[in-house]
């Protein structure tokens, strides 16, 4: 898992996707998102696919980790 962790748990739509956008613009290498809502996973996946950024999704308990590998 990468060093940078962004906790998006409990954030309402569309803040999680905006955090991802900001982090990509910061351009500091791989990062991991912690997400707890199915709709956020879908929105973020769609956004990353659109940007052509590689990522890996793993469900872990009630939450989902999205690792952006870059």
């Amino acid at each position: 898992m990468s060093d940078i962790i962004i906790d998006c748990r409990g954030l309402s739509c569309p803040l999680p996707v905006m955090r991802v956008k900001e982090e990509l613009e910061r351009d500091q290498g791989p990062f991991t998102l912690v997400v707890d809502a199915a709709i956020c996973v879908e929105n973020i996946s769609r956004f990353l696919n659109y940007k052509g950024v590689p990522f890996k999704v793993t469900a872990k308990g009630g939450q989902t980790l999205i690792e952006v590998t870059l």
């Binding site: 962004i6 309402s12 739509c13």
Partner: protein
């Protein structure tokens, strides 16, 4: 297959559009197959939160949408009780949604149904939605945030379920024993409705669709502005196509400058939907989306729904709501106050930003 997956939202939208046209055929008011603003207003009236005798009915579609999306959320495991992200502010934003929606006379979905039925006055409202979404987006990019939600004890998740079960029981009591309460209109839009069983069944179908395809119009514009992503808007294109084709087939397409249960004040329609869109972005979803998230046991969205019921009550109790006759003077005052409150909330909650980023 890939085309199907990519465009599932478009097909789902077409289905919702057709459902709307069919509900009108069976007796719902014109271009009001499903309308969240109008239906919350009718339900508020039926419960006695306002006493306008023309718009009182316990719309079974809303209860059906509850059952459908609640079951879909259970089956697909999107059901996790949460809340605590500015519930009081969300209640207030729910009221603002109704101030805007009852100025235009409809929610974003009805705006599309109205256009698909040939009502050109809907255009003012449809243009107002991106305007409101843009206002909301300005504050989102400046850090607007009502704070994170927290997981809640499981029993609290049943609160909305109990609320809507009571509404369903009231509906059955009225139908079975012809009681005075809940109030049902004998004339006006509230008296026009499809047979209860059809409303319930089609509402359930729409509920499953809404929950699965994640439809959200204000969210659609927001994604376009923020990420240039048109995915969510495709669903609304689908509703337009479905409702238009359905209306043509059922002989319900009637081109007019101002359609039924509508008024032609362009500025009012534009600003009304603008306020609704603004408040919807600040809430994180339109009136329909709030309902779906309520079924997913988001208690904050339930607060927004309750705000909409009370908002409808205020607008009709005080005679502020628009009607086919136009917008009353008080309605303009309410609209101006609504914008004032929305800007205050947006500005106030853009001031502090919680740190969520850890690491280097």
């Amino acid at each position: 297959m890939s085309f199907l997956r990519q465009n599932l939202i478009l097909l789902g939208g077409v289905a919702v559009g057709l459902i709307g046209a069919v509900l009108v055929k069976f007796g719902n008011p014109a271009n009001m197959g499903i309308c969240f603003v109008c239906f919350y207003r009718d339900m508020a009236g039926s419960l006695g939160l306002h006493l306008n005798p023309l718009v009182q009915y316990l719309r079974p579609e809303i209860i059906g949408i509850f059952l459908g999306s609640f079951l879909a959320a259970q089956v697909f495991k999107d059901f996790s009780p949460r809340g605590g992200s500015g519930p009081a502010v969300r209640f207030l934003l729910g009221i603002l949604i109704m101030v805007g929606g009852l100025t235009f006379l409809g929610c974003p979905i009805r705006a599309i149904y109205r256009l698909a039925g040939g009502d050109l006055s809907a255009l003012g409202g449809l243009l107002g939605i991106p305007f409101g979404a843009y206002l909301g987006m300005v504050f989102l990019t400046r850090g607007y945030n009502l704070g994170p939600t927290r997981p809640l004890p499981t029993w609290l998740a049943w609160l909305p379920v109990v609320f809507f079960t009571v509404l369903l029981l009231l509906l059955f009591v009225k139908l079975g024993w012809y009681t005075d309460y809940p109030f049902f209109s004998v004339k006006g839009p509230g008296s026009q409705h499809a047979p209860v069983i059809i409303s319930l069944a089609l509402g359930m179908a729409a509920g499953v669709l809404f929950q699965r395809i994640r439809l959200c119009l204000s969210g659609g514009f927001r994604d376009v502005f923020l990420f240039n992503d048109f995915h969510l808007l495709k669903g609304f294109l689908g509703i337009l196509i479905g409702a238009f084709v359905g209306n043509l087939l059922l002989g319900q397409f009637k081109p007019a400058l101002v359609g039924p249960v509508a008024h032609g004040n362009f500025v009012g329609n534009f600003l009304g939907m603008g306020l609704l869109g603004f408040a919807a972005i600040l809430l994180g979803g339109c009136p329909m989306r709030q309902l779906i998230m309520t079924w997913e046991a988001n208690l904050d969205s339930f607060m927004a729904i309750l705000g909409m019921f009370i908002g409808a009550g205020i607008m009709h109790r005080l005679g502020l709501a628009a009607s086919p006759a136009g917008i009353p003077l008080g309605g303009w005052v309410a609209l101006a106050l609504g914008y004032g409150v929305a800007f205050t909330i947006a500005w106030g909650f853009s001031q502090a930003r919680a740190a969520v980023r850890e690491g280097a």
